[in-house]
């Protein structure tokens, strides 16, 4: 197969400040070299903030054209040097699909969104019509569907279709599966595999959830720590994906829990009694009942859009059921403070001027905060603005500042999304410490898609589904498998 992409001595540094005088420049990558052949399907993997997105953004030209950084070395696409070319010029050969499709859609109908890039590259209306038909067939989307009503997975497919319409044969996908359920992710991966195998598309996909992607890819590029102290990462290449072993480094075994309540008898903290909850004409919950007892650890599993976050919001009282009731001692306003709720996106919960202010804002005991600081490695960033941290660090801080309040009940919405194995270990360790403080008597309800973490996050599972029967309770250890049925 011919080489479609070649990277020669490529280096990247965000350390472009003028204040750097006596110290050496810090590099994210230094002198990377690799070639990608036509038809390759490559997984780019590595922990959060290691530079996967940066590498993809260097190839499509977003770095340094739209994001400031120092770049050295050369990139060749189809044998042509593109290093100095603009994003628009590179767009002719490289297509990019990013995270958060909801925030990239500008039209209210699927067809308009798909033809938009074709209009930008001056396609004729006839050609646009032909491509639109085939892209709709390929993705299973409907031309007239309203973009606002699409699920997360469908939105990602829509953005992929937009890119495919531009006929670039190199596709770069930056964590396209983030927040997608297993079924949607599988559908997208099958589509990409088909494009790679049958139509010779070259696909480079960055993803944390290796176990999901690995069966589809030919090669794996993994970002690993560099031995050079001035360089953060380097790439390791595996030409055969089957040789690659994904897994967790050193997660502790889940300790067997004996809660105080187990002996004393179950004490319900949330009794969900025959509730209905409707969004428009659609019932998310219909005559749904559930009981959470003190000290229990539940994991809510299920497809995107099936109502997992809504269920947590109902339990907290952020939204009210259409019918039925949720009985809980935490329904009272003064008791709400005893619930900690970690949102999926930390950007909503961080607002103080320094990391330390954020941690101590609602903290119960300074000792516990100090322990969290050590555990998460915040010692050297206490005076920094929380928003200046990397995405992974922000997520950990968002989690830490909620549990610093030592809540009696903890709701966690996708706490490990976007965290590398090390970050996940720290998070699970923090939960363990929190639990030890109350003889495992803390109630925790977690939403997760992350198969790495699910076994450690709870021992009872609630599986929600869009189809009937929409609900299953399970405390079998293999419950995780139900999710991908």
């Amino acid at each position: 197969m011919s080489c479609v992409l070649e990277v020669v001595n490529l280096s990247l540094s965000y350390d472009v400040s003028k204040e750097r005088t006596n110290r050496e420049q810090q590099w994210i990558f230094k002198e990377l070299n690799f070639k990608v052949s036509q038809g390759d399907f490559i997984m780019l993997t590595g922990h959060s903030g290691c530079g996967k997105s940066s590498l993809l953004n260097m190839i499509n030209g977003v770095i340094p054209n739209l994001k400031k950084a120092e770049v050295e070395g050369d990139i060749y696409i189809h044998g042509q040097r593109v290093t100095d070319r603009s994003v628009r010029e590179r767009t002719k050969s490289v297509g990019s699909v990013f995270q958060n499709p909801r925030e990239q859609i500008i039209f209210d109908q699927v067809a308009d969104e798909i033809v938009f890039p074709m209009e930008n590259i001056n396609e004729t209306p006839m050609r646009m019509r032909e491509k639109l038909t085939s892209l709709l067939d390929m993705t299973g989307l409907s031309a007239d569907a309203k973009t606002a009503t699409l699920s997360g997975g469908e939105k990602q497919k829509l953005m992929t279709a937009c890119t495919l319409g531009m006929d670039q044969k190199i596709l770069l996908l930056d964590e396209p599966l983030a927040n997608m359920d297993a079924r949607s992710a599988k559908e997208l991966l099958e589509l990409l595999k088909r494009l790679s195998d049958e139509e010779n598309y070259t696909v480079i996909l960055s993803e944390h959830r290796q176990e999901l992607v690995l069966p589809y890819v030919d090669k794996v590029f993994s970002c690993v720590k560099s031995v050079d102290k001035n360089v953060e990462m380097t790439l390791e290449f595996r030409d055969n994906a089957e040789d690659y072993e994904c897994g967790l480094s050193s997660l502790p075994d889940r300790p067997s829990r004996e809660t105080a309540q187990a002996t004393a008898g179950a004490k319900p903290v949330f009794s969900v009694e025959n509730i209905d909850y409707r969004v428009g004409d659609r019932f998310l919950f219909n005559n749904f009942s559930w009981q959470i007892n003190k000290g229990e650890e539940w994991v809510i599993l299920g497809e995107n859009g099936c109502g997992k976050t809504t269920l947590l919001n109902l339990l907290f009282g952020l939204v009210r059921p259409t019918a039925g009731a949720i009985v809980s001692p935490y329904s009272k306003k003064r008791n709400k403070r005893k619930i900690g709720y970690v949102l999926q996106n930390p950007d909503y919960q961080l607002f103080m001027p320094h990391v330390k202010d954020e941690l101590y804002l609602n903290a119960k005991s300074p000792e516990f905060v100090e322990r969290l600081i050590r555990l998460f490695g915040f010692e050297h960033m206490l005076e920094r603005h929380p928003l200046s941290l990397s995405e992974g660090q922000k997520r950990k801080l968002g989690f830490a500042c909620i549990i610093a309040n030592e809540p009696e009940v903890l709701f966690l919405d996708e706490p490990t999304a976007g965290l590398d194995d090390e970050g996940m270990e720290q998070l699970l360790h923090a939960l363990q410490i929190l639990n030890e403080k109350t003889d495992n008597d803390r109630t925790i309800v977690t939403i997760s898609h992350d198969k790495r973490a699910i076994p450690y996050l709870g021992d009872q599972f609630l599986v929600l589904s869009n189809c009937e029967p929409y609900l299953q309770f399970c405390n079998h250890p293999n419950a995780v498998n139900i999710q991908s049925r």
């Binding site: 499509n60 977003v62 739209l66 994003v87 628009r88 767009t91 297509g95 990019s96 990013f98 995270q99 958060n100 909801r102 925030e103 990239q104 859609i105 500008i106 039209f107 209210d108 109908q109 308009d112 033809v115 938009f116 890039p117 074709m118 209009e119 930008n120 590259i121 001056n122 396609e123 004729t124 209306p125 646009m128 019509r129 606002a148 953005m159 937009c162 890119t163 531009m166 919001n313 907290f316 952020l318 709400k336 403070r337 709720y341 949102l343 950007d347 909503y348 919960q349 961080l350 607002f351 103080m352 804002l361 609602n362 928003l387 909620i402």
Partner: protein
Amino acid sequence: MCKRTRDIHPILSLVSSLLLFVAGLLFVKETWYWAYVATFLVLFLLFRYEKLILKLSPFILIFGLVMGGLTLINGSRQDALYAVYRVLALGLAGVLSMSIRPIHLVRSLNQLRVPRWISLGLLIVIRFIQIFREEIRRIRQAITLRGIRFLTTPSLWGRAFFIPLTVRMLSISEGLATSLETRGFSTDSEGSSFEIICFKRRDLVFSFLFLACLTFYGYLFLRGR
């Protein structure tokens, strides 16, 4: 290819809406104002705007009552009636302008050689009002979750609201800009158009009836001066 649609041409809708609003405000003190409103309602019904009229009616009704009520506090009953009439003028104009599908307006503007960055900006604003309504809801929820109350700690509440809102604005706009550029959009290229918005026979009939009605009431207005 010309788009087959039952909607009135977007530019025609916009101009008619403007005329209707201005005329509505001018005619507000005329005794025949109700006839004026009824005439255009019938015209809209002929052109199948019934769903939009039904959708707007509650808003116009509530808003009309509020405005009339507020005027009644300081003014006469007549002034209150005029306030209600002004809301009706707004409602009539709204039926036409709100029937415009943004994408059709954008394509019409492009056909008129309006720079694409203006039409794209318009689309982004319309779409992202909805997105940010949701963002604001989430931010307020996050504030509740951290136990911050406006009444007890207003400055902390302000921080917890505006800092995340600004961060979301920055992050969403950066992601969107990158996505647009990688989808080939640029401020200096014209691009092609998937569909051409044409002026059809239906638009011609609407223009004729609309202008005839407006001219008639304009004549009544001028005769009364």
